[in-house]
Amino acid sequence: MLSDLAFPNGVCISHDGRAVLWVSTWLCRIYRYWIAGDRFGQLEVLAENLPGYPDNINRASDGTYWLALVGIRSPVYDLAMADPSFRMRMVKQIPPDEWLCPGINFGCIIKFDDDGNVRESLWDPGGISHPTITSMREHKGYLYIGGLENNRIGRLSLPDADPTWTSWDSYWARSEREKSNSASVYARTDHVVSA
């Protein structure tokens, strides 16, 4: 579908099944790639200049999307990211535990809509409960939280969320019932071959 991308990550089908949302972690951007409708085949930047490095995207029950920020940007790290030769010298000359890295002693999940507007964010500014969040999943009124550098699974109550909503129903069952335009998406799963 697309190539020559910078750390593509966090793939998610839009609520209407017409586009794939994904992020470029190092470019701090959310992209939208249309897979159906009038804009089929078009790629656009949905949101850019995020304050952190995006990872997993998942649907939210209110028609928006959850997005995990795995680390927070800093001026020094931005500068390093703009200079590949500096980073090359860094990885060659100093041990990995002394490399520059994003701010990982934070936890942040943002919620954005189909226009790329950030509606809300959830923070753990001290990085005590849930730093370095890589994924989250809304399920029946709760948000479940995971993090690659973490040692726990978190659960956050979402008082305003639909307590019956599940992501698998949103992605698959409901859409199949409605026979929406996302047939091409389901076709992908038909590629699974016998072991």
Partner: protein
Amino acid sequence: MSLVRDIVDRVFFPHRDVHSIPVLDAGFSPNEKLDLARQIGGQVQAPDALTVDAHGTLFVSTGKNVLACTGRDFEVRKPLISFDANAGALAWSEKTGLLVCVSGSGVCSLDHTGKVKGWLKAIDR
């Protein structure tokens, strides 16, 4: 004064980038909402991705393994499968079962017992 400084900066540092990290306001306003998140069950090292199936089982990828978590508060955890490489993103549908992205290998489809149903190793281009 700031205008003079701006002009001097432009003369002496023409290639200097404008610091572009957005201000954390509006939707990005910092808060402590994640402090309300409760740890469920015991510790799990490096839980990467999560998904829940129709029966309410929570699947978690952690390193090369995928755990199936059941029970109240998902405190009952059983290793579902172990791969040769790291397991990442997860998804579940009735049609495919559990789908696991495995680093360098592809996407693996599993049934609820952890039996491999198939692999997606390449997609059409």
